[in-house]
């Protein structure tokens, strides 16, 4: 098997790895490093349960070949909290009961963390009426910006308020 040697920083820890070139970031996290927070839902980039942060941006780790991201910093759900102190989005999800089975939740939370950063940077979405204005994160904006994360339980009714709450704190 063609192998490739690379370095990644995962949740703050440096890793020197030799991997089969076919290894996705998702399989690296789950199968090689035992970090099973990121989920393999569809494995085709459609469900969002594998969402992680790559150099601070949200991506679908099932479609990211690890070899293509040599030198990158990866944050999975295991690395989001500050010790025992939950990230504000994690706290908001608990406060709003923003999940049922929990399978999509790590992806939802990481996606929301990065989505709020995107909005703070002034990035528009397809729901943004005025491309020149600063986006205001109302329900429509949040739903559009979070459309890459599916919840089969249909917990959107609580996910959206959790994110809205965290965004306005």
């Amino acid at each position: 098997m063609p192998d490739f040697t690379l370095s990644l920083t995962i949740n703050g820890a440096a890793h020197d790895l030799t991997l089969d070139t076919r290894t996705t970031l998702l399989d690296l996290l789950r199968e090689h490093l035992g970090l099973t927070g990121a989920k393999k839902g569809c494995d085709h980039g459609q469900c969002g349960s594998c969402t992680v942060l790559l150099d601070g941006r949200r991506i679908k780790s099932c479609l990211a070949l690890a070899v293509a991201h040599d030198g990158a910093e990866v944050t999975s759900i295991e690395g989001l909290a500050d010790g025992d102190a939950m990230h504000p989005i994690q706290a908001a999800f608990i406060e709003h009961d923003a999940f049922q089975c929990g399978y999509c939740t790590p992806g939802q939370i990481l996606s929301a963390v990065a989505m709020l950063d995107e909005a703070r940077e002034g990035w528009p979405s397809f729901a943004t009426a005025d491309l020149q204005a600063e986006p205001a994160l109302d329900e429509r904006e949040i739903r559009e910006r979070m459309s890459g994360n599916l919840c089969r339980c249909g917990a959107y009714a609580n996910i959206v308020p959790a994110i809205h709450d965290a965004a306005t704190r």
């Binding site: 076919r22 980039g45 949200r58 990211a64 070899v67 996606s111 990035w123 890459g148």
Partner: protein, 327 residues
């Protein structure tokens, strides 16, 4: 997934040479959002991947005399967020934002977006025949599921559509695609990058073997400041278009001075609606004129049994988009 070796060149000439040396089963790798998926499905099985995301093609630069040069490795999200794009070419920002999801736009590149493959279910299912995947095997879509297939420019061999939203805006804007190949660089004007299926649907584009997309240039185009992308799909977000329209409109004293219009999800290519444009120039900017201009293009439509709805839908989406731009 078939094993492959991975190459990471840092300049375009090396990338072109690496791909050429590797033979026909080598592929350029951008964000991977389509290619890696197709590799998992067995539709693509490259033996070499040449990663082109670390080439110096990751910037958006202003051109002398107006216009923008967008590097092929620019991520879709960075393109849509760029202030210059949002101000001067809102149709382009909106088209990119209409595609995929936030995560995928952070990964996908401009070059990869242009070269993504059709989402025809027969193409992505290796247990089915498909002339695009394997020439001469037949097209089950024509007599099977083709609700989201082409109504314009299709052939006996293939009724698939091109899935990109961004490419529709680039077709309307008359962007220029820059490529690098063994014989040096050349340019291809949009919408000429993509080709109709004819009897060779395996070929999506006019690119020659081994050619690499390096940049897309947007012309200085004043009327593009008043432009929009409208997309109709079966759910509110994160779905491919049933019909989409990219349009720019310049109305003066109630008369259409100039316009640019392209349609998405209706053909094997992003479909520049030149007949609509021609029918509109010099006409009053009214709903009736917009409808007649839409009909001028759609008269050539040849829908299939399951997708005849796309013809009146395209008409309505064209009219509504032009009405909004003329307000």
């Amino acid at each position: 997934m078939r094993p492959f070796t991975y190459e990471r060149p840092t300049d375009a000439a090396s990338a072109v040479a690496l791909l050429g040396d590797a033979g026909p089963a080598a592929r350029y790798l951008g964000g991977g959002t389509n290619l890696v998926d197709l590799m998992k499905l067995g539709v693509e099985s490259p033996d070499v991947l040449v990663d082109v995301t670390r080439l110096p093609h990751d910037r958006i630069e202003e051109l002398d005399g107006g216009g923008l040069r967008i590097g092929a490795a620019v991520r879709n999200s960075d393109l849509a967020a760029d202030r210059r794009v949002r101000e001067a070419y809102p149709v382009l920002a909106q088209s990119v934002l209409a595609g995929a999801s936030g995560q995928l736009r952070n990964m996908a590149t401009v070059g990869g977006n242009l070269l993504q493959r059709t989402r025809c279910a027969y193409f992505t299912d290796v247990t089915k025949a498909c002339n695009k995947r394997e020439g001469g095997t037949g097209c089950p879509a024509r007599a099977g599921h083709h609700r989201n297939h082409a109504i314009l420019g299709h052939s006996e061999a293939c009724v698939a559509t091109h899935p990109s939203d961004m490419a529709v805006a680039l077709a309307a804007l008359g962007a220029t695609v820059h490529v690098e190949g063994h014989d040096g660089p050349r340019t291809i004007p949009m919408p000429g990058l993509h080709r109709l299926p004819g009897d060779e649907p395996q070929r999506d584009t006019e690119l020659r073997p081994g050619e690499l997309v390096t940049a897309v240039e947007l012309p200085a185009l004043e009327l593009a400041r008043r432009s929009a992308y409208r997309k109709v799909r079966e759910r509110a977000s994160f779905a491919f278009a049933l019909v989409s329209v990219a349009a720019a409109l310049d109305v003066r004293d109630g008369v259409v001075e100039d316009c640019r219009i392209a349609l998405g999800a209706v053909a094997h290519v992003p479909w520049r609606a030149l007949r609509t444009e021609e029918a509109l120039r010099g006409r009053p900017a009214t709903e009736a004129a917009f409808g007649e201009a839409a009909d001028a293009e759609l008269a050539a439509a040849d829908p299939l049994p399951e997708n005849a709805f796309k013809v009146p839908l395209a008409r309505r989406v064209i009219v509504r988009t032009l009405e909004e731009l003329s307000r």
